[in-house]
Structure formats: structure tokens, C-alpha cells
């Protein structure tokens, strides 16, 4: 199967014909529209190695996340970056290529933080291996982490080694009625204290906070923070992770509005950019519906120390991601050119000019 993937990319390289790399297709909405024939990793599955005591799992790109998460759960371990599944059969390769992380991200780390090594096939059809299966490794440039979030534009990820973590012994979720400004302040203040925070969310006047850790630690934090305990909390966080709540799933399509993701400095005061908002990641991510022009949102995010992504909706001419400075844009094109000289892999997916 690996040989067939290599052959397909080699042939595409020879002909200069573009390929759309795809796992489960659960994130095909994400990024700019790309072009070409679909090259699927779905048949390239299987956990290659899993050593619970080493906290390391290695699996092929097409392995469904559900399969990996079930295997980890048997050993009481987890993918701590809580990758979103969205509405499809998300795969490991696709999750790393997209580089998206779920509610636990600010407190445990992002997809890229858990990548230890990758095998890829570059745009010439050359199989390559970077990083490894150990937690500390500084030999060579960190190409493995560069692959996380590169949207398949630098190579087809065929295998990933990840650091995994034990599941917390206890989890509880608390809710507080607070306005946006007060909720943002609380999220940031609490993150600066030794509390076992593992997720935060604010929407429609309700701050929701998840605590994870030893039974005693979660209990002590609960006593300290107060609030109302949320029942069925696992479902709440899963719906937020997969964006299957009405806010994300229904309204944008129905209203014709677009869903924006603004990544900003977490202490950024309330943004006045749209009607409905969902705040995550301790204030560092603001989801909002807005029909403002893309340039206005890119500029707004930049002035708050971050960047904006048109997450769901029709891509504007310049693309769905914040524009880069000229120096950084040149660097991106240079890197793309080095890994994919003919520009056949997920052409235009990240920026419309490559």
C-alpha cells in the first residue's frame, strides 16, 4: 500500500498533475479550495507500535482516530490534544496535517506538541522519515512538527509517532453565569493559579470550566471555584470539540453568514465584530459569525496579537488564512518549493499562490 502511494505521487510529479490528499474527509471544508485528483490514505491503516509505558504510539496515516482512541482507552491513556473528529471518520494523518486541537489544547498542548516523528512522501515521491519515537530528540531540524498544520502541502504524511498521556483519574465541569468581560478575566486569572484546568468555554453568558486530575485535586479545586456542576459534561465538550452544537453546525449555513476563528492574545477584551460568539482556549480563540469583509477580520485579529481564519464559508480571493508578511510569505514559498517542487500536493490549500 505504501508503494502504491509512492507510485501515485511519483507519477503525479512526472506529469505535474495536482493531487488532493485526503484521509477521512472530515476536514475537507478547512483551508482554501484545492484542485486535482484525490489520493486517499484510507486504506493505509493500522497501529504500528504502541508502548503504554513509553507513552508513545505509532500508527499509519489512514488509521481512524476512533480506533486509536479506543486502543488508548484500554490502557487508560489518551490523545491529550483532543483532536476534533467533526462529522466524519477523521484519521490520524488528516488530524496532524490539519494541526487542529480540541478544548484541552491550552492546558495540555496542541497536536504539534505531541508529534514525535513522522514518515512522509514528499512532492517528488521520495519517502522520508523525521523525528522518531522518543520524547527528546534534537537531531536535525524539527520537520516532524513542521508537518503538523501544513495541510498536506509539504508532503503526504504516511505514519505518525505521538506522545500519549494517562487519562486523568477524575474530571468535573463547572458552570458560572458571567458576562463576557468577567468570564475572560476569570479564565486568565485561574490559568495563572495552580488549578487543574483542562478546558474553558464561554457562550451566551455561561462560563464553562473543566477540571481534570487526581480525585483529590479536582475536588479541592471545585470547592475553591464554586459554580454549578454540569451534568453530561463529556457530551458538552465533545460537541464543542466537533462543532456539532447549533452555533457551529446550523446557523452559519442557514443564515448565509460565515464562521470565523480568531486566535488572539487570551487577555484580549471582548471583540465587537459580530453578534454571536463562542470563546474557547482560555480566551485565545474567539469563534464568531460575521459578515464583515475578510480584510477587516484579518486586521482585527492582527491588532490583537494573532490571526484569523475563515473556518466555514466561501473563501475570499486572498484565501481563508491571515495574509503573511512579505518576508514570511517568501519563506513559505521557498519551503513549499523545496518539498514539493512542482506544487502538486494540495495546491492552493494554504495560500492561493502555491
Amino acid at each position: 500500500m505504501l508503494d502504491r502511494l509512492i507510485e501515485r505521487i511519483r507519477a503525479a510529479y512526472e506529469n505535474g498533475s495536482p493531487l488532493i490528499l485526503q484521509g477521512g474527509g472530515s476536514k475537507s471544508f478547512y483551508g482554501n479550495p484545492d484542485e486535482g485528483e484525490v489520493l486517499s490514505t484510507r486504506a493505509f491503516t493500522g497501529v504500528v507500535d504502541y508502548q503504554p509505558k513509553e507513552l508513545v504510539l505509532t500508527a499509519r496515516a489512514g488509521t481512524p482516530l476512533t480506533e486509536i482512541e479506543a486502543l488508548l482507552a484500554e490502557q487508560n491513556q489518551m490523545l491529550a490534544f483532543e483532536p476534533p473528529h467533526f462529522n466524519g471518520p477523521a484519521t490520524l494523518g488528516g488530524s496532524i496535517a490539519a494541526g487542529l486541537s480540541g478544548p484541552r489544547r491550552p492546558y495540555a498542548g496542541a497536536a504539534r506538541d505531541f508529534v514525535l516523528g513522522v514518515r512522509i512522501i514528499d512532492g517528488t515521491g521520495q519517502p522520508l522519515r523525521f523525528g522518531g519515537q522518543v520524547i527528546k530528540n534534537v537531531a536535525g531540524y524539527d520537520v516532524s512538527r513542521l508537518m503538523a498544520g501544513s495541510l498536506g502541502t509539504l508532503g503526504l504524511i504516511t505514519e505518525v509517532s505521538l506522545k500519549v498521556l494517562p487519562r486523568p483519574a477524575a474530571e468535573t465541569t463547572l458552570q458560572f453565569e458571567l458576562d463576557e468581560a468577567a468570564a475572560l478575566l476569570k479564565m486568565n486569572q485561574w490559568a495563572g493559579q495552580p488549578l487543574p484546568l483542562s478546558a474553558t468555554s464561554w457562550h451566551a453568558g455561561l462560563l464553562t470550566v473543566r477540571l481534570s486530575g487526581a480525585v483529590s485535586a479536582v475536588h479541592a479545586a471545585q470547592v475553591k471555584l464554586g459554580g454549578e456542576t454540569l451534568k453530561d459534561a463529556a457530551a458538552f465538550w465533545q460537541r464543542l470539540r466537533d462543532q456539532s452544537t447549533a452555533f457551529f453546525d446550523k446557523r452559519p449555513a442557514a443564515s448565509g453568514q460565515t464562521l470565523w476563528r480568531l486566535a488572539v492574545k487570551p487577555t484580549t477584551p471582548p471583540l465587537k465584530l459580530g453578534d454571536a460568539q463562542w470563546i474557547e482556549w482560555g480566551g485565545a480563540v474567539r469563534w464568531l459569525e460575521s459578515d464583515l469583509p475578510a480584510a477587516a477580520l484579518f486586521e482585527a485579529a492582527k491588532s490583537c496579537g494573532g490571526h484569523a481564519t475563515l473556518f466555514r464559508g466561501t473563501a475570499p480571493a486572498g484565501g481563508v488564512f491571515s495574509p503573511l508578511t512579505p518576508a514570511l510569505h517568501t519563506l513559505h514559498r521557498n519551503l513549499k518549493q523545496r518539498f514539493d517542487p512542482k506544487g502538486i500536493l494540495n495546491r492552493r490549500r494554504m495560500y492561493p499562490d502555491f
Binding site: 513509553e54 521520495q126 531540524y141 485535586a217 523545496r338
Partner: protein, 484 residues
Amino acid sequence: MLSPAFLSQLRRLLPPHSVLHEREDLVPFESDGLSAYRNIPDVVVLPENEAQVAAILRLCHAEKIAVVARGAGTGLAAGALPIDGAVLLVLAKLNQIRQIDPLARTAIVQPGVRNLAISEAAAAHGLYYAPDPSSQIACSIGGNVAENSGGVHCLKYGLTVHNILKLRAWTIAGELLEIGSDSLDSAGYDLLALMTGSEGMLAVITEVTVKLLPRPQRAQVVLAAFDDVAKAGAAVGNIIAAGVIPAGLEMMDRLAIQAAEAFVHAGYPLDCEALLLCEVDGVNEEVSDDIFTVREVLTASGATEIRTAESEEQRLKFWAGRKAAFPAVGRLAPDYYCMDGTIPRAQLPHVLRRISEMSAEYGLAVANVFHAGDGNLHPLILFDANTPGELHKAETFGGKILELCVEVGGTITGEHGVGLEKINQMCAQFSTPELARFHAVKAAFDPDTLLNPGKAVPELHRCAEWGAMHISGGQLPHPELPRF
């Protein structure tokens, strides 16, 4: 040699005291922390602000003069070794903490700020900077980013790459790159990851935004002795399997224990083959639970003695021995050579057995200090550089240890970097196409190969030559020649 014309151009860019050119001023910069590799620089520049850094880079770019960036010079892989005909760019004077934002939990610092100084400045807010390489009193954050430095708390708190948010960096052409963001991610490729650990090969860093974490409420350490290294290794896996992620998990072998005890009198048991130090931290209640679990696991794993530090004073004493392990071992022989491989933990007994066999073969003693939690092994090879051939023997032995690490699925460097020291072993870890991609990454930033040329990634012909030498019995031709 640099031309007088070039030197006078440099002098026009900088105040007189920022350009060192006299031999006696240059000697202190002849090596970094790996003093076996020395080369007196042609010129040292010590810019005092970002504009000066950019101007130096633009000049060097225009004149096609190579630049070696250097922080505090504590690196252990000859990464900051001066190169003939190059400018040594010392960033130590960029040493200001520009901002601490306690609510956002970040610090904006210049590259010459010492690692520990960040935590000291953040302490007033109950915050600290987590990565703590053992040189943290002296090493600077710019160097930490260049090396992706670790420390004893990596397993739980991550490496430098996990604890920084943003960089201001300059290409050799003198263009500013703002990499990362004040949020948790940024648009485009993850250049923050690519820059971290890039050993001064891609761009020169002038500002780092680091994450600060709340100081744990409590930290407590357990010490356990074992009569067998394999049992100690298994105990490490058992602790993790029990669901505890210790803040620190360190192992020392017999020689390292004895050296440390003789040096700092930490009260270590001496009649054992291996010692584990397991620190847990967090909120008060959690630490109590974890200490209980850890003690149970250690007992079940066959520890011959278990002690829990009952006071902060005792905790620091337990750590004092481990933290002084390198200088302590340094007292056993005129010189020691510190290796830095990482291995899958399960391979520890096999690797230690092989190291001990090779130690007999080469006639050089080895003390082993091990970041057991994350598999990062520091064998310290004892030798005497004044005995002809011993340095070469130690280097060859060290190289063999690194190749062994690769063989068992590990890496030649966990946290010290490749520099010049391990450049040959890169050929053992990576294939030719992989090394070619590393060169391509460098070329994307630095097409003229002016930043720290010849370090970190071997030229492909070098691997061919090394491979050929390697086959001929590990005996390098002309061992008397310095191999820079």
C-alpha cells in the same frame, strides 16, 4: 582572515567596545561548553540592540561573510565554535526582560536573558518558566531556543518548543521574521517549531515571548535504591503505567552515585546499583496521592530502600547530588566527555550493558546519568586529555554509544544539539535524501549558507567519507589532526 576593509565597515556599525579584534579579547570566545573544540574567532561583535544585529547581518550578507551566533556559550556540542573567516555574533548584551504580563502569563525577553532570570522575575506573580536545563544559572534563552533545551522537568512540562509563543528573528539578508503569535498558534507553517533547535542555522533571534506557568503549590521527591539497573528501569515504566507523570524522574548508576555522594554528601545510599529520584508536583492533595502511588509502585518494583523528602530542605538535598553529578564525576578523572543520546526506555538495560562492555573494550570508565522519564541518557566517559590518544579514544567510544542509541530506535541527541560534535553521527541517523531535505530547509532561509555553516547537518560528501572511515575499524586516519 577577514579583510581590514570589512573590519572597518563593522566598526562603523557599532560602538568601539562592541567589536573585539585583539587576540586577548578573542580567546574567551574560542569555545563553547565543549572545550575540546577550540578555534579563536577572527572577530567578535557584541551588538547592544536589534538594529545593530540587523545591520551586522546585512553587511555580512552583502560581503558573503559567515556568521556564527552565540548566546552565553554554555552549549555542549560545539554549536557556537568559531569558524575561520566568520564573524562571531555574541547576543549576550541583548539582556533585557522587556515585559512580564502576569494575566496573559507571558514574558517578552531578549535572547541574552538568562534562563533562571526569567523565573526569578516572574516569581513575584507566582509564575515561572518551566524548561530548566542544568546550566540555567548561566545559559541564555536565545541559546535555549537555538538548541530546544530541555532539563529535568521535560516529561511533564515539555521542552523549549512547548514553552515559547513568539520570536523576532532576522534572516541573514537582514529581514525581520515575526514567527508565532500572542495567541496559541499562527497562520501558515509552524516556523516556530522549525526555528526551535535550529542551532543558529536559519535566522538570528532578537526577542522571545515565553509562556509562564503557575508555580506548583507543592513539590515532593522520593528517592529509591535498586540492586539492579534493569529493575530501576522497569520501575520507571511502572510509575508511568500507574498513571503518574512525575515532574522529574532521574536515574544514576553506581559510579555516578558514588561520585555525587563524595562531592555533595546528599546522603545517598552507596550499596546500590541504581538510584531513582522521582519528583511529583501539583496541588497539595494531588501530590499526597501521587507520592503514595509512587511509593507503592517502587516497592512492588523491588526497590531496596525508599525515602521521601519530608521537608523542602531535604528535597533540595536529594536533588543536590543529581544536579552536581557532572562536576562530581569530573573529580574522578582529569576530563570527562558527556554524551546525550535518547533511547526508548525499555532498551535501557540492553544499552547500559553494551556501554559497560564497550567501557571495558576502550579501557575508559563511564558514569551514567539518565533523565529516565524521557529516555535521555548522559553517559559520562572519563579520560585524560594529557594521555596521548585518550581524547580520540573517548570521542570514538562516544560516537559508538550514539550509534547504539540510533540502533535501538533512539536518537544521537536529546537536548544538547548536534553542533560540530555529533555531525558524523547524523549520517548514521538520517538517510541521504533526509539530509538533503535538511539542507533544503536551510537554503529556504539562507541560500548562501552563511549562518553557522558546517554545523548541525553534515555535507553529503562528509557522510560518504565518514562511512568509509567508519568501516575501517573505527580508527580515523591522522588522529593527531584536529577534525574541525
